[in-house]
């Protein structure tokens, strides 16, 4: 099974998850400080900062891109409810 590792920097927890997992599926389980609103990529509440390993996430969809732009997201920001891990090691924190 293809796997990836994600480190939630704010709580010092690293998880190993199957490739294709969205961060929303795991961040609440470990108690990370990523917070969610609509959970459907519309409100922008779950914007997070990718500290490293952004290349190991699937590219943002048109919808995610639109919401990031509307919220003046800085480079390296993604929506935790949308971002899917592919492989490698990604480090994230609330942002």
């Amino acid at each position: 099974m293809p796997k990836a590792q994600v480190t939630f920097e704010d709580i010092g927890v690293t998880v190993t998850v199957p490739a294709g997992t969205r961060l929303i599926e795991v961040s609440e389980k470990v108690g990370a400080g990523l917070t969610y609103g609509c959970r459907e990529g519309e409100c922008g509440t779950c914007m997070m900062k990718i500290v490293s390993g952004g290349e190991h996430l699937a590219s943002p969809s048109v919808l995610e891109d639109k919401i990031l732009k509307e919220n003046y997201a800085s480079a390296g920001s993604r929506l935790a409810c949308q971002a899917q891990v592919l492989d490698g090691h990604i480090v994230v924190r609330p942002g």
């Binding site: 690293t14 998850v17 599926e25 509307e70």
Partner: protein
Amino acid sequence: MSAQVAVLPGQPVAIAPDVHWVGALDPGLRQFDIILRTANGTSYNAYAVRGTDGVAVIDTVKAEFADDFFARLWACCRPDEIRAIVLNHLEPDHTGALPALLAAAPQARVYLSTAAMRMLKGIVKDGIDESRLVVVDEETRVDLGGRSLRFLYTPYLHWPDTQCTWVEEDGLLFSGDVFGCHFCDARLFNDRVGDFRFSFDYYYQHIMRPFREHVLSALDLIEPLPIRLIAPAHGPVLRDSPTRYVHRYRQMAAPLLANEAGEREKTLLVFYISAYGNTARMAQAVRDGAEGVEGVRVSLYDLVSGDSVPFVDLIEEADGLVFGSPTINGDAVKPVWELLSSLALVKVKGKFGAAFGSYGWSGEAVGMIEDRLRGLKLRVPRPGVKVKLIPTDEELDACRALGRELAEHLVGRSAPRHIDFTAPGALTA
């Protein structure tokens, strides 16, 4: 009728040369948005600003008061003179007359924030010609001829969409809900109306306080402005010493309690309630574990003898919160829920949280409290401790470990952990 009454049926009220209040009074209202009470109603303040090249309408009113609004608006301008409709805030009490205004003035463009743009389709259900919409930023200027509108980015006061509108030439700040209050008085101006200080502070405490950081950012934008008049979306128009109200916001946005912990100390509050002393013993163990971590100041509170109001003030300033509750009839007990349901008044997002409790046969309380803490956007990095009836020494050790580990998170000294979610069903469990 008193000579001081400013608001008369069907008549706009001049608040500055060629600037009129065209809102509505709602003296019968006693409860607003479910969460707010008012002893003497409210007002829905809308304004018409005239330049040599046209008129801007700033906000509208609650739908039931649309007739009052249009009567006043059409008394000071024609529909075809309206060039701009400014939406400082999309909540229905300010946009109830918007669909009719859009239809009456089809040439007018609508100026709103990015977040408001996303909400608008929920307000104007019949759709709106998108070419009429202008998303504003700090650089946007709407020239009305002789006076112009600029916009301050003041989100989360108290919705994501909120903004203020500034007329530089006259020193007029159309502040939306900021500096507003639910106080209905036909004398309209702050130097004429009855004493509204309590209403002003109450409104801040219930509407703005959860967004304190955003209030401070907004004040940084507002304080340098040479303000001559503040025209909020509710309550009196602030023409006498308007900056006094800006200062009052600055005061209210300061922490209510002086920091008694050292500047570098973190604070952890342990709240508990106990039927037979078992959850109380667990609470003491959580406290003991946390106290062993240098740089953390721990406090223990029995909810059975406490009023939740001062606890809310403590929680606002705390770094970590732990809740202990027995499970009674499959639920956490009422004093715990009362306190947890009071936290919408303050910002708790990002604080660390945990739960524990003794139970007789099922023990749902701990998980329910953890879910609530997550719902309040706390970080819950450690699973809570559930103990069947009387805690053993080992179980009290687990409580001490919970307190210690949470305290270590507060000071940034928690040991890194690794969790494997690749086993079948691990993510859905």
